[in-house]
């Protein structure tokens, strides 16, 4: 299986992205895959060998021909950009996070396929890693002057911006922890996000859609490219859609399928996604397009070829989310709480052995807790947990009960020495009195994307995937 994924990750390579570096204004580095050259080595014991393997695959970068007229630009950002050749120009699908990376991707395409103008733009869903680089491939003026259609699923604009309005600050701050974009890269630092290497640090833009896709079965032809749409709202994003290209027998599954278990609730924070709806639309995609698809491509990772293998991939991804959903509900109806269910659920061997069902991005633990949260909320039903102290006040009391901070630290060191790495940091954070009583000035380094008077900064992954 590993060999098959490596073959798929290399298949159709027209030109590698070399050197895989994108600079912004005044030479500021926006993207640099060379910082992952350490992955050439054998996995060290500080990195899970599966993550090492996955990162070696997501680091493969370049222009790939998926089918005649269908091109994938991978390894320019966290996400993929796709180009479909029409009669007069090209339709661009999902122009990455930053204008700089999207422009670099388009430049490599044009270097090998000629100076074809953009005749259409499509956003598959409302996450920033699929629209932020729009103005890197076409300007707002060109869109207007040439009447270039911009297609997106119904509700796209509302959802693309609303996440930033309400909880955006907190999500952005937490995304810094989730993706580790500011960590040094290396075997003791950032290795890869599982979905792609990391998020680019360029300029985020947004060109509003001009054509809404409002129903499944809707067809559109842009520049001679025929497309049939399947709306999949409430799956991986609140506004999302799959696209089938009947003539080429190609299927774009947006982020509804990945070569990793995805997140039901992304750790940066978000509304909990609905795995039942997600699985439902994957099943519908099989019914609508499975038999008529010879190549499947998605917003992250490499493509998949052959109808039989495509259906197998869709079925197993569907069953993966169904399994997590149904087993969480079965167990919560027997009285187990989220934290308990997370320890109880194990994937069936038929799914666990598939690389695309593994925990590179989402995890069984996070996802089962998320499903519990979706149905039951934060409270586990025990009256003693209904009005707990906030962490700082709770820690103060626990530490006092346990004999003081020094005693707790000593015990935590013993736990660490015994290899109980799950408990040692959890217990020792009590003695450091976590919590936000007041914000201590200068207590943490400002993040690179905090308000700055100079170049526009982005918040990595603020609303991505």
């Amino acid at each position: 299986m590993s060999a098959q994924e490596l073959e798929e990750a290399r298949r159709g390579l027209v030109a590698p992205f070399d050197p895989p570096v994108v600079e912004g204004e005044r030479g500021r580095v926006v993207w640099d895959l060379r910082s992952y050259d350490f992955l050439d080595g054998e996995p060290p014991d500080t990195v899970h060998p599966n993550l090492w393997r996955q990162s070696r695959l997501t680091r493969i970068a370049g222009l790939f021909e998926l089918a005649p007229g269908f091109y994938q630009l991978r390894g320019f950002d966290l996400s993929n950009m796709h180009v479909v050749e029409g009669e007069a120009g090209i339709v661009v699908i999902d122009p990455l996070i930053s204008t700089e990376t999207a422009a670099a991707a388009l430049a490599l395409y044009r270097e090998h396929r000629g100076e074809r103008p953009v005749t259409g733009l499509i956003y598959t869903h409302s996450h920033v890693d699929h629209f932020g680089g729009a103005k890197g491939v076409v300007s707002g003026e060109e869109i207007e002057a040439r009447g270039i259609p911009v297609l997106a699923p119904a509700g796209f604009l509302h959802h693309a911006v609303s996440e930033n309005v309400f909880a955006g600050t907190a999500m952005g701050r937490r995304a810094g922890y989730m993706y580790g974009a500011l960590l040094p890269r290396g075997p003791r630092g950032q290795v890869g996000s599982g979905l792609g290497q990391t998020t680019s640090l360029g300029t985020i833009t947004l060109i509003p859609p001009t054509v809404d896709i409002v129903e499944t079965g809707q067809t559109e032809t842009i520049d001679g490219v025929e497309m049939t749409f399947q709306l999949t709202p409430g799956t991986e994003a609140p506004a999302e859609m799959n696209i089938h290209f009947p003539r080429a027998r190609a299927l774009c599954v947006a982020d509804n399928v990945a070569r990793s278990m995805h997140n039901i609730l992304t750790p940066r924070g978000a509304l909990v996604r609905d795995p039942r709806v997600w699985a439902h639309y994957l099943d519908e995609a099989i019914e609508l397009f499975g038999a008529d698809s010879e190549v499947l491509f998605s917003g992250h990772h490499w493509a998949c070829w052959g109808s039989e293998r495509i259906v197998d991939l869709l079925e197993k991804q569907r069953d993966l989310y169904t399994y997590l959903h149904d087993q969480t509900l079965r167990l919560l109806n027997k009285g187990h709480t989220g934290a308990e269910i997370a320890e109880l659920v194990e994937l069936p061997p038929s799914l666990a052995r598939e690389w695309h069902c593994r925990e590179f991005y989402g995890s069984v633990s996070h996802n089962t807790k998320a499903i519990y949260q979706r149905y039951m909320g934060w409270f586990d039903g025990n009256p003693a947990h209904l009005w707990e102290h906030p962490p700082r006040e709770q820690a103060r009391r626990y530490v006092e009960f346990m004999g003081g901070a020094e005693a707790v630290l000593e015990k935590a060191r013993e736990s660490f020495a015994a290899g109980d790495y799950r408990w040692s940091p959890r217990s020792s954070t009590m003695s450091s009195s976590p919590g936000r009583r007041t914000r201590r000035r200068g207590s943490c380094r400002p993040t690179r994307w905090s308000s700055s008077a100079t170049a526009p900064r982005t918040r990595p992954g603020a609303t991505s995937s």
Binding site: D319, T322, D326, N333, L347, P348, N382
Partner: protein, 141 residues
């Protein structure tokens, strides 16, 4: 409530969440959804079942599949052909799922009929787990 149960033991659940009137008004698809979340995943890991459910009054057909530890259903009949078909009227289906009647009883009275490999239907029903309306909240398990 917690203190009361610690003193006196678990008192169970005072309200029934799925009384017959509620069940009777669920669509067949909703009934099958409810069945799907009772499937004991680990016990079903290696099961591969295809069963058609043919409901009378009103007439509906649903294709059930158990695979990858998951019970799925689609309306209509689908390929591959089913190992077995369960033919039942809607009221009897409700009774079967509410456990107010068992499969032998319903078959005996002619309200339920099995075509094909009946053992597969037994296997499916045997994979269903029971929720626990009196689970421990504050008391030791």
């Amino acid at each position: 409530m917690g203190a009361k149960e610690l003193r006196e033991g678990i008192g169970g659940t005072p309200t029934a969440t799925a009384p017959p009137d509620i069940v009777a008004n669920l669509s067949v698809a909703q009934l099958l959804d409810a069945m799907a979340i009772r499937l004991d995943g680990p016990r079903a890991w290696d099961s591969h079942l295809r069963i058609d459910w043919v409901i009378a009054e009103p007439d509906e057909e649903h294709a059930l599949t158990v695979r990858n530890g998951v019970l799925r259903h689609r309306p209509g009949r689908h390929e591959p052909p089913a190992d077995a078909a369960l033919l039942v009227d809607r009221e009897a289906l409700d009774q079967l799922l509410l456990k107010t009647a068992d499969i032998a009883e319903l078959a005996g009275s002619g309200r339920l009929r099995v075509e094909g490999d009946g053992e597969k239907i037994g296997e499916l029903l045997g994979l269903l787990d029971e929720p626990d309306p009196g689970f421990a909240i504050v008391t030791p398990d």
